[in-house]
Amino acid sequence: MKALPILKKLLVSVLTALFVSFLTYGLLYISPGDPAELLLTEKMGSMGVQKEVVQRYAEQLGLNKGFLEMYRDWFVNMLHGDLGTSYKTGNPVLTDFLSRLGCSAQLALLSTAISLVLGVGLGILSARRRNGIIDRLTRFFSAVSLSVPSFWLAILFLWIFAMKLGWFPIADYQGIRSLILPGVVMGVSGCAGLIRVTRSGVLDNLSEGYVVTARARGLNDRQVFLGHVLKNVMLPVVTMVTSSLIAHIGGSVIIENIFSLPGVGNFLLRALRSKDFPAILGFVFLMGMIVVVLTTVADLLYLAIDPRVREGMYEKK
């Protein structure tokens, strides 16, 4: 009985995933430009390409069938773990994706960690010294971090710290050393929401009845804050962190491009520019899947840490 809502959630997630794949496929199917012709032109240079050759090439790539048939083929192959072969690199899309996932995942985790530390830390500080100098500075900082275009900040940091000061590598990828600058940029521009949620969460909770009760029981400030308030503030923070992870998977397209990182976003951008259909489709689908999985995990996590959500779910039924 208790597993039912969770099962239902999972089912909705699977449905979402299916719909995501269908939508992506549909979008690419109706997009203009014949990939077979594009590819041939690229391979042969700018010499005219004959229609017959293009047609034969399209047949070879399986591009001349109807939409549903093509989608079915793709879907069946996908279930077998085969997402097709990239036109551009000639590798299986899954291999391409996995080889670039490491860099992007590290970047997303690093930047989310920076956001989390900055956001929660500054949020708590500014709530505890409400309207003080730290609070004002923090609010200004969050307004700025929300407003400054992250790609501009990225170039600025690249210029100052990598080119002028030479602390970080510019173009060649050197593992974690190359990820620090982009991580800081994304972390800083992503922390504004967390600051706000933490700050107002702390302020709201401090005026709740349970704080008065805890004080009446003789707990000191520290105990009340760490043992009671912080727990309640963390709930919206969990949601924010997931959505920040989601945002960073997509937001990293521009940042990865600027720092020329070998990540998922940068590869996808190149695929989009060259109309590398299997690669675009596979990458968007896999990114969507990661998002669906992350959201589901966050929902379940929410169920686990907040009894109110759990009970609310059963009450409705």
Binding site: V144, F151, L158, S200
Partner: protein
């Protein structure tokens, strides 16, 4: 007393924004003469005549920044009007109708939110081709959702409110309830959101143009200018610094005014709406 002080600071903020917007609106008149190719003064560092310096073709960067921002702001405004109209309509219908329509909306929302935003926008740009029109469409497909979500949740909670129940009890029509009671309540949430979203949209437009998918070269646009600046990052760093700075200043203005409006109109909700 405190209210008075807050009101004054809100008026000051709005005044600054209005002044800066006027600068943008009349930018063609004020700065139009600087946007011409004069190779003789190419790559001039910032000086009195050209406070932001000139680019690789000798065009004044101060002039181009403002003219470029005019285009972005105009587009952002058009997009937000479209998103607002779509979002309010869909959000209201779904909120009232409930049932299967509501379930469908929640599902659709989950699907759209499952794509990382930039990626979805880029895919749609691929479908429609590069350029201004397709950028408007691509960003709107994502943008209406935040309004619709807000309106839907508002309608859902307002429907339970006692004053609405009272209206139903005295036999008011749906039309009357909606336009005389729901809409005025929702508007105070929408105005700040609209301001905030314009700021976001301007950034999104610049980002897409930076990647080469949005506004195309002969036009002045901040993202494009920053992209150009990246090529000359060593020899002429002012080419990327100043346009970005102008964009940041305007974006900060929109955000602070939006926040201030939110605090004024809707103190309880300032957290929820800022999530999107």
């Amino acid at each position: 007393m405190k209210r008075n002080k807050e009101n004054r600071s809100l008026i000051v903020k709005c005044g600054v924004l209005a002044f800066m917007l006027l600068l943008i609106v009349f930018s063609k008149l004020l700065f139009g003469r600087g946007d011409v190719v004069t190779t003789a003064i190419a790559n001039t560092p910032p000086c009195w005549q050209h406070p932001f310096g000139t680019d690789n073709l000798g065009r004044d960067l101060l002039c181009r920044s403002f003219i470029g921002l005019r285009l972005s702001l105009l587009m952002a405004f058009i997009m937000q009007v479209i998103c607002l109209a779509l979002g309010v309509t869909i959000g209201t219908v779904v909120g009232y109708a409930g049932g299967i329509l509501d379930k469908l909306f929640v599902f659709l929302q989950n699907v759209i939110l499952s794509f990382p935003g930039t990626v979805l926008t880029l895919c749609i740009m691929l479908l429609l081709g590069n350029g201004i029109f397709s950028m408007i469409v691509a960003l709107c497909i994502f943008g209406w959702l935040s309004y619709a979500r807000l309106i839907r949740s508002r309608v859902l909670t307002l429907r339970q409110a006692n004053f609405i129940k009272g209206e139903i009890a005295i036999g008011s029509s749906l039309f009357r309830i909606h336009f005389f009671h729901i809409v005025p309540n929702v508007i105070r949430t929408i105005i700040p959101m609209f301001t905030l979203m314009i700021g976001h949209m301007v950034l999104a437009i610049a980002g897409l143009s930076f990647l080469g998918f949005g506004v195309q070269p002969p036009n002045a646009e901040i993202g494009l200018m920053i992209q150009d600046g990246m090529t000359y990052i060593r020899s002429a760093p002012w080419m990327f610094i100043f346009p970005g700075l102008v964009l940041a200043v305007y974006s900060i203005l929109f955000n602070t005014v939006g926040d201030a409006l939110q605090d004024r109109f809707d103190p309880h909700d300032s957290v929820n709406a800022s999530k999107m």
